[in-house]
Amino acid sequence: MEVNYSQEGSRIRVAVDGNIDSDGAGKLSDILQKIMTIDNVENVEFDLLSVFSTTSSGIGKLLNFYKYIDSHGGSMEISAISESLYKQFIDIHLDRIFTIRLK
């Protein structure tokens, strides 16, 4: 699994490629911690089109990051998601937490 991010002004885009297993959750966490050190971030979007499944550990990292960005007045959305991951997120009601756009 690979995860990268890019910044355009106050907007950050995080792209994840590959399923988020136990090791992948750690890599994701490292990137999210780096993003948290950037000033004036207003919006973070996640491209999860190439992620077909995630462990609960990966979901935990996303939720904790959401709580962080929300507490700092920012917003988080899933701008692209695979169909199978979308179904997984719906099963655990994450669509009630952040915006998820199914492409």
Binding site: N19, Q33, F52, S53, T55, N64, Y66, R96
Partner: protein
């Protein structure tokens, strides 16, 4: 396949270690051939009744073995690992289901290692006999919690399910992750008795969960508790059972909580149990037994033409 060995081919060992292996070989009427550095000479002519003993000293050794992996699959090997390289090699040999044993060697370790080989060899014979037809399978494994390497283990079980036509190829990734969830739960919440409430609820919180996990994994009372996995299949379905030696838990209340179709936003943000929902997604039936210490995952065989 015979489980009687005739020869030990040993390479990479120091003189003092070879003399210990030789002591064992002589007492068990085995022929010992040793080669300190030149692995390729040994790989040329490995027979079914040979045991190949290789000491992994560095990353180059494992690279060499990868290049000759076809030979390794044909023969039965044990690897003695230098402790500081263990993590480096652990994943590779687990992924390829190769048995391994740790240094330092003394005569008791050699004795124990060979007994393990015989046991694993018998299981392997039965295992592959069943795998080739996969009409029915009944195998059981057990590991200490501190020895389980979850990701490659779950990949291997997924491969078995694919070979037996219990899953489509496009389900493989999901099944592997579901199995990872099940094993992780058994190890962390079962054997290590870690409470999900210790997980950080934000990035500012210190990760008491991870700290305690590391502590308990290295603690004799927790890390050495066993995880047992039983895989049973017939013409209709496959069952994978994962059992821990923890305290168990109230499965009725737990399942009721996670089946709640209307959790509050706060509950979604903080609740545990997401792993079980993921497991539920990929297996047709899940049952608990033994007061929650045992979880059974069921998957029906795909009908022919399906």
């Amino acid at each position: 396949m015979s489980v009687n060995f005739s020869n030990i081919l040993a390479c990479g060992f120091q003189k003092s270690e070879i003399s210990i292996i030789n002591e064992y070989a002589v007492s068990h009427d085995l022929n010992l051939q040793e080669n300190t550095y030149l692995y390729h000479e040994i790989f040329h002519d490995i027979k079914e009744d040979d045991i190949l003993l290789i000491k992994i000293n560095n990353q180059n050794d494992i690279k060499f073995i990868k290049r000759h992996k076809l030979h390794i699959y044909e023969s039965f090997c044990i690897f003695c690992l230098e402790y500081d390289k263990r993590n480096l090699i652990y994943t590779y040999i687990n992924h390829h289901n190769l048995p391994f044993f740790f240094s330092p060697i003394d005569i008791n370790e050699v004795q124990k290692s060979f007994m393990r080989i015989l046991t694993i060899r018998k299981r392997k014979d039965n295992f592959f006999k069943h795998i080739s037809g996969l009409v029915c399978l009944n195998v059981e494994f057990e590991w200490k919690s501190c020895d389980v390497v979850i990701s490659p283990l779950c990949s291997d079980i997924t491969r078995i399910m694919e070979m037996g036509n219990y899953i489509h190829k496009n389900e493989s990734d999901g099944i592997t992750l579901a199995l990872e969830e099940a094993f992780t739960n058994s190890i962390e919440h079962g054997n290590l008795e870690l409470d999900s409430n210790l997980r950080p609820q934000s990035y500012n919180d210190s990760d008491e969960y991870e700290k305690l996990k590391l502590l308990r994994m290295n603690h004799e009372d927790y890390g050495k508790r066993l995880i047992k996995c039983r895989i049973f299949s017939n013409s209709d379905e496959m069952m994978i059972e994962i059992e821990d030696q923890g305290k168990g838990f109230d499965t009725v209340s737990f399942l009721k909580k996670i089946n709640d179709t209307t959790p509050t936003r706060q509950e979604i943000l903080t609740s545990s149990g997401k792993g079980i929902i993921l497991i539920n997604k990929y297996f047709q039936k899940i049952t608990y037994d033994n007061n929650g210490r045992s979880i059974r995952l069921f998957k029906k065989r795909i009908p022919q033409g399906g």
